[in-house]
Every structure is written in C-alpha cells, then in structure tokens.
C-alpha cells in the first residue's frame, strides 16, 4: 500500500511498489487524463508534475512519488498558469486528435511557471520531449507565446 497525494487529495493505492505512477493513476485511481504513449520516457504523453517539476510518470515508480505533491492534467486548471495554458490551447485550436495534449499542457505549464517569457529556443528545449504525431507543434508554439504575452497570466 502506497499513499499518494494527487491534485491535493491523499489516496491509497494497493499495487506493487514498482508500478509506474502512470498506471496507478490510470488503472487504480481512474485518472485517465494522463496518457500512455511509449512507456520509456520518450514521448511525454504521461507528463505530470511532481512537486511542480514536469516528470514522466511512465518511468516513475509509485514508491518514488509517495510523499510528493502530484499534479495531473485533471488538476492543473486549479493553477493560474495551468488555467491560462488550457484556455490558450482552446482559443488557438491547438488539439487535433488531442491525445498528446495532456502532456503538452503539463510541459508548457511547467515551462511558463518557471520562465514566463520563453524564447523560441526555450520552447524547443522544454517541449522537445513531447511528441505530437498529428503535428500541432506550430500551434503549440503560438499558444505558449499567447500565454507569455498575456499580462498577469504567468505572474
């Protein structure tokens, strides 16, 4: 039994301690917003925040996530930057199939919280771990810039 703090709620999960956080979230806690894409930290679809840091939940065993603050896409809207990112994503019409976008939103939120005015190179560095097979990269870039350009959105 491992205790997890997810989106401000403390919950017990009764699976093997080496179980990746991704599968505990999805299969045990029913938080299916966090997606499986590769299972080996190559695609970013499973990105969550651990104590605010963007983290690949597919390679993070639950034993390593216990005692830490886990934020998933279901909870990121409670954060001001997270909310601004979600709104920009909808306004710019970023998603196509949308499957990668939970991870993109989590990576972009982490970037903007830490760096409210990212350069193009900053965006490359922060977002290149997130694959989008539909090819929404140019709109993702536009949405990030839109949030960065909004007064008060990221401060």
């Amino acid at each position: 039994m491992v205790t997890l703090n997810v989106n401000g709620k403390t919950q017990q999960v009764d699976v093997a301690p080496d179980t990746p956080l991704l599968w505990a979230l999805r299969d045990v806690l029913g938080l299916t917003g966090t997606k499986f894409g590769c299972g080996i930290a190559l695609c970013g679809a499973c990105t969550v925040h651990l104590d605010g840091q963007p983290t690949r939940s597919c390679v993070t065993p639950i034993s390593a996530a216990a005692q830490r603050k886990i934020t998933t896409v279901e909870g990121i809207g409670a954060d001001r930057v997270g909310k601004a990112v979600q709104t920009a994503w909808v306004e710019v019409g970023v998603p196509q199939c949308g499957y990668c976008q939970a991870g993109q939103v989590m990576s972009a939120t982490a970037l903007l919280k830490q760096n409210p005015k990212p350069t193009d190179a900053d965006i490359d560095a922060a977002m290149s771990g997130n694959i989008c097979r539909c090819g929404t990269y140019s709109r993702i870039r536009a949405a990030i810039q839109r949030v960065a350009g909004q007064k008060g959105a990221t401060q």
């Binding site: 909808v90 939970a102 771990g129 097979r133 929404t136």
Partner: protein, 778 residues
C-alpha cells in the same frame, strides 16, 4: 466560452442504456423529434440504394457500403428544454469531424451552437450510412446529406409553429433556435416546438429549402472552437485506452513477431506468479491472409496494465515463424530494384515510349526508394469488450465501427444484432485504426474470461512490431528530352507489395486504387507515356497509411520532374507548369485511372487549371525565386490526391555540418469550398509536419522477419525543435454547391518531394532514398 458539449454519449457511463442509446440522455428531459419513431422510420426514408439500378456504376457516397442517409430522425433530437442533440456518425481522430459534421446540421437547422450537444453514433451503418472514416471522405460525402438533415428538421419545426399559430408556413421562419412569425413578431423556441414537430412526417427531400450560402452562420466561417477542446485540455476526453468498466480486467498480448507465425509452445508458470496476473490465455492464430483478424498469440490478463506487462515479460514462448522468417529489408530492396529494372505489367500506355526514347536528344533516369512506415498513432490501439447474456458490447478507437461489429460477431459466432460497438475518440488514426483486429482481441478475451470486461492495450512496441505497414517501394523513372529540354517520353515502373495482399495472398500487382494515386494519373503534357507495374510479394501486413500510395508515387514523380528541370537547365516551377500544360479538364479514365478515388469522373475530372493555380499560389506566396543566402534553397511539388489539389514550397537551410532546418513552408490547397477552414488549416499544417517527419526520419525495417524498431527511439517522429518554424496554409476559395475534395490526407504527399527538391536547390545533393536521416552529412 460556454462548453455545451458533453463527452461522448457512447462512453461507458451510458453503457447500461441499450437502445436507443443516442437519445437516452435527452429523453429524460421529455421531448423530441423522432422519439417514438426512432428505429422505425430511420430505415424507411433517405436510403438511396433502392432508387438506383443495381448494376449502374455507383460513385462517391453511393458507392460506399451502406451508402448514406439524410434522415433527420437518425441524426437530430430536440429536448423540451431546447437542447439540440446532433449525432456524429464518423470517427474523430483529429480531423475535427465531431465539430464539422454537427456544425453543418446546426447551420441548416438554425440551431444556436451553444445549445447543441454532440452524440457519437455506435457502429450501425443501416441507420447512419457509411461510417468508414477513411479516404478523406467524411465532409466530401456527407456535407449534402447533413445539410438536408438540418433543413428537414428545421422545416418540421417551422411547420409545427405555423400549425400552432394557424398561419401559412411561408409566413414563418426559423432563426437562431426559434421560429418567428414575420408579420406578428410572435416567436416560439425549439424546445416548445419539439413535441409537435416530432409528430410530423419527415418532409420529402425535393421539397427542402437549403440555405443560400450567404446566410450560413457556421459553415465556411471557421469561428467555432473545437467541440472536444475543453475536454481534451482538462483530461476528460475519452479515448479507446481510457475505457473503464466495473470489474474490468487488463490485458496485453504477445503476438507472433513474424507475419504468419504462431505459437509453437509456451510456459505461463512464471507469468502467473506476477502479482496481479489473473490468467494467461492463448489467442488462436488466424492464418494469412491477415484481413482484419487478430494475429493470435498469448494474452496475459491482469488486475492492471502494469501487472499484465510484467506478466508478459515473464512468459516463455517459442514461436513457429513460418514462411516469412527470412524477410529482410536490405535484401528486399535489392529484389524490388531488380524488378524495377525489367519490364512489368503495362498499366498505362500512350504513344510510343520506346521510339521516342530512342530518338530523344537526352535521356534521364532515376530510382527512388521509400521504406515501410508505421502510423505510430500517439494512442496505440486499445479496446474493451464484455459479454452479457449473449450480447457483446465493445468500446474502442476505431475508424470502422461496422467492420468491427461484423468481425466480432463472426469471431464469436453471434449475430451482428447482438454486438454493439461504441466509438471513443481516437488518439490518431491515419489508417491503422480502420483495421479492427485489436477490437476482436478484446472480444475474444472477454469470452475467455466468461464475459468479464477486458481491456486490451497495445504497448508502443506492439504497435510498431505488429502494424499494418505502409508498403515499401522502388520507383524507377526514365524520360527522354528533346533538344530544347522538353520531355517527349516518360516511363515509370512502380514496384511495391499491394494492400490487397492483406486480403489475397496471391496479389502481387498494385490495385487500381493504388495505381490511381499518382502512378498512372499523371496529367503531364507528354505525348508518350508508359507506366508499368512489375510484381512484388508481401511478407508482412500491408495497410492504408494516411495518403497511401501517393507517398511513394508522388515522391518519385515530383522529384523526377525537378531532376528533369535541372537536366534541362530550367526553373523547376516554370518547368512543372509547362509539364502540367494548359488548363483543361481531363477524364481520369483517359489517363488509365479507372478508380478516381471512387468519385464520378464526370463530376470530378482532373482539372489542370486548378493544379496550375495551387502551384502559382504557393510559389507567389513563398516568394519563389527570391535570392537566398548560401545553404538555403526552395523546392516545389504539386500533388492531386483525394480529389484535392495541393502544392507546397519548402524552404530549407542546410549548414556546413549537413544539418537541416526548415524555416518555412507554404502550402496552397484547393479542396473546393472549406466547411471549417480552421480545421482545414490545422489538417494541412499537421500533414506538412508529418510529411517532413516521414521524409527525414521514419523507417520500418525487417530482419529475420521481425521489425527492427521497438519504440520512438528507433522509430523517430519529428519533434518540435526540428519542425518547420512557419507553415503558411493558403486556401483557394470554393463554391459550396460544387463537389468537395478531401482534406485529411492530401497534404502529406507533396511535402517529401518539395523538401528534397529544396535540399537539391540548397546543396546540389539529390535525395533518392527516404528517410533522409544523415544523408546530408555524408
């Protein structure tokens, strides 16, 4: 923004409501058009098959299995609270169909989009018409029927209001979710009229008044946000992999690594020791041809996905690889090349190519290689099924829900009436998810588990190792130029395993639908043209991949045109336009294309005027011919596919180290009128990105019958840092009353040749083998 759109009604939360599923939520509110008639009337009207002579050629939507319907009772329901529910019967995989299709109905219905909710149809083609979401067909085939659905429902509401007021129906008018009596100014909302309207007969098709396009509220505007956008960014959207049912078990399957292989023996003892593993089940192999059948193998059923994955790792399986154990991509490339250098089946023959070649002032020859590709949808295939009291219900990210339903029924030995297939969102499709093999796996496993709900998840390794791959091909081209550099003879030999091999192991030639993707139907003003198709044998499952054979054919043809321009010392754009020749409308049959993307050749001739226009537009917008610094270059290509015309100008920068960057791409598209221009733009930009990805990085290769790429480290997808910095999409305006073109696929094929033509302009290096990878560094 208000977000009136619930998640999919066919999601598991509604699973208990059997029929009529689509109306279950709404009917609780009272209501509606077609409530009592639902089911009864649906089949009675709007179905075209009976109207047509059985043997007349059927084109477009008429030619698709189960055709189409424009019956509003199948697609529209109105609650007493005024909520309008519109059914989307096509699968959403990123093309925006769950926004676009209901938007068409809503516009003609004069519905207020804020009060529209969208319901996803289960697989039921008798009720909804064809649901195979592929071939870039949804909008092109259903724009008109959906308009009529909306117009018919609007007419019923107007009639109900006129009756209530006892005035002629000509005096009333539907406007933004209410009906207004012009003289008196009286008005009634749709909710107040729904019950009366439901009692009226559906008006005959020929009495419907469609809106004049100048009065469209949503169509052509591109102002509505994506219906599923808010759910997507908050993690609420439901994909095939997200289905959860009470008591559900989780499975992964070890499938034969070689096509046609099967389990020789296996030992499940260690797997069963993994905590959480419930059972190990063998899935019987279906011998080739694969069709849509599961490949067979050994499934591990567990309490969660991770336990299933670990259980599978602990399985000991010995495979009997079968006849494809020798499939080796390096050797096969040589086999294809050998075939491409000898004459093959002639599939188009104009004039006298040999004579013209012999007397040509100059001959040019080139050979291109395009490898197998995998769709690598971000969401791997995933499906869930359960069997309760002899009825199977399944959920999945499926492009072809009717095929899934029929095949599940066949495999389980049930009637299709006892199988229901619910369509979730698809995390990418690209043709992979038009094959329901993964949905049948879920049904088979549920049966093995006494009907318990089982979700099958494919890992990325499974997806790359056991896909229905894009074919592999060698394209051999020869041309003769006269003394002025004008082409007088054209010979194209295309060699590639056909998709038909997945259904018929004897098939060794490309099918008409493959040849009609820019092998035969090249509309160049060249008097002597011969296209040949030597045989090739498939050693894996070959399937449809976004834009299909257009990828290799157009890569070769459009690269070769630029090679000829270089040989003739001409500007590639001018040379291309000259080759296309003057504006004319060509019957595709005269080019040896009997398929024409399934469309009527009279309605959809190949229009070289439209082709010229996209070339000229892309060139103009890109500033074609501008002076560029060293290491920079522009390339152009144009491709007609899915009855749409797309030209691309790619600008590249190749530095001293041979590193490639793409500052800008200009794409011009003529797909006829754009119903949802914002989604057309996003599809074209996405297709451009995918086109660059497959040209620069992607390759599936086989060794000892097995795919060599395991995951995204070996099967690389382009990431944001390498993607084009700017993609500008230029839309050619179209007529809403003229035939529409496809949008989802035609953006892909021009990208690879335009990119390689740009690389040639920048560096003088000609790429003839994809992917490019580090060829520029050599």
């Amino acid at each position: 923004m208000s977000a009136p759109h619930d998640s999919m009604t066919s999601a598991p939360s509604d699973a208990s409501s059997d029929s009529p599923l689509l109306l279950a939520n709404v009917s609780r509110r009272g209501f509606l058009i077609g409530a009592s008639a639902f089911g009864g009337l649906v089949l009675a009207v709007g179905f075209p098959a009976a109207l047509r002579a059985a043997d007349a050629p059927k084109y477009g939507r008429d030619g698709m299995p189960d055709g189409w319907t424009d019956n509003p009772l199948a697609f529209v329901a109105i609650g007493e609270d005024g909520t309008v529910t519109i059914v989307c019967h096509r699968s959403e995989m990123g093309q925006g169909v769950r926004t676009g299709m209901p938007m068409i109905v809503a516009d003609e219905l004069e519905a207020d989009w804020k009060r529209v909710r969208i319901a996803q149809a289960p697989g039921d083609q008798k009720r909804f018409g064809n649901q195979d979401t592929d071939g870039s067909r949804s909008t092109r085939h259903f724009f008109e029927p959906m308009r009529r659905c909306g117009a018919a429902a609007r007419t019923m509401l107007e009639t109900a209001a006129a009756t209530r007021w006892n005035v002629p129906v000509g005096e009333v008018e539907a406007r933004n979710h209410e009906v207004v009596h012009r003289q008196s100014g009286r008005r009634l909302g749709y909710g107040a009229l729904a019950k009366d309207a439901a009692k009226l007969p559906v008006p005959p098709r020929d009495t419907l008044r469609l809106k004049d396009p100048s009065r469209f509220r949503y169509i052509g505007k591109g102002e509505l946000k994506l219906a599923d956008g808010p759910n997507i960014v908050s993690g609420k959207a439901q994909y095939g992999i997200d289905t959860r049912l009470p008591g559900m078990l989780y499975a992964v399957v070890a499938r034969p690594p070689v096509y046609g292989g099967k389990v020789a023996k296996y030992d499940a003892a260690e797997a069963l020791k993994v905590p959480g593993v419930v059972r190990v089940v063998e899935i019987e192999q279906s011998p080739p041809p694969a069709e849509f059948n599961p490949l067979g193998g050994v499934a591990v059923v567990a309490r969660n996905t991770w336990a299933a994955i670990k259980g599978r790792q602990a399985l000991k399986i010995e495979w009997n690889d079968g006849p494809n154990a020798g499939y080796d991509s390096t050797a096969f490339k040589a086999t294809l090349e050998e075939a491409a250098r000898k004459p093959g089946k002639v599939v188009r023959n104009d004039g006298d190519v040999d004579g013209a070649m012999a007397s040509a002032a100059r001959r040019v020859e080139a050979e291109y290689y395009i490898p197998h590709l995998a769709h690598a949808t971000m969401e791997p295939p995933a499906a869930t099924a359960r069997i309760v009291q002899g009825k199977c219900e399944a959920w999945g990210c499926i492009q072809s829900p009717q095929a899934a339903r029929d095949r599940i029924a066949k495999r389980l030995g049930m009637s299709a009436d006892n199988v229901k297939v619910n369509v979730t969102l698809l995390g990418g499709g690209f043709g992979r998810k038009s094959k329901p093999d993964f949905m049948i796996e879920a049904a088979v496993l549920s049966k093995a588990m006494s009907g318990a709900p089982v979700k099958v998840t494919w890992t990325r390794e499974d997806d790359l190792h056991n896909s229905y791959y894009h074919t592999v091909s060698v394209e051999h081209l020869e041309a003769g130029l006269d003394a002025g550099g004008k082409p007088v003879a054209w010979l194209h030999r295309t060699v590639a395993p056909t998709i038909m091999s997945t259904f018929n192991p004897e098939a060794r030639n490309e099918a008409p639908f493959e040849l009609g993707m820019n092998a035969v139907n090249v509309p160049f003003a060249i008097p002597n043209v011969r296209v040949e198709n030597p045989e090739a044998t498939a050693h894996t499952r070959i399937g449809w991949f976004r834009s299909v054979s257009n990828i290799p054919h157009a890569f070769a043809v459009q690269s070769f045109v630029a090679e000829l321009a270089a040989a003739a010392g001409r500007d590639p754009k001018d040379f291309l336009l000259e080759l296309i020749g003057p504006a004319r409308r060509i019957d595709p049959r005269t080019l040896g294309d009997t398929w024409n993307h399934g469309e009527d050749p009279e309605q959809y001739p190949l229009d070289t005027g439209r082709m010229r226009r996209v070339v000229e537009t892309a060139a103009r917008e890109a500033g074609w011919g501008k002076t560029l610094p060293k290491g920079r270059g522009q390339g152009i290509a144009v491709v007609y596919s899915f009855v749409t015309y797309v030209a691309a100008v790619v600008e590249v920068l190749v530095n001293d180290k041979g590193e490639l960057a793409i500052p800008r791409v200009d794409v011009a598209v003529d797909c006829g009128a754009q119903i949802n221009p914002d989604r057309v733009r996003s599809q074209l930009a996405g297709a451009c990105t995918m086109g660059v990805s497959l040209a620069t990085k992607e390759e599936i290769s086989f060794k000892a019958g097995r795919v060599e790429q395991d995951n995204y480290n070996a099967y690389e997808i382009m990431r944001t840092d390498a993607s084009p910095r700017e993609i500008r999409v230029h839309l050619i305006p179209g007529d809403f009353n003229a035939p529409l073109g496809g949008v989802g696929e035609p953006g892909v094929p021009p990208i690879a040749p335009a990119l390689c033509n740009a690389i040639f302009a920048a560096t003088g290096k000609r790429i003839r083998r994809l992917p490019i990878r580090d060829q520029l560094k050599a």
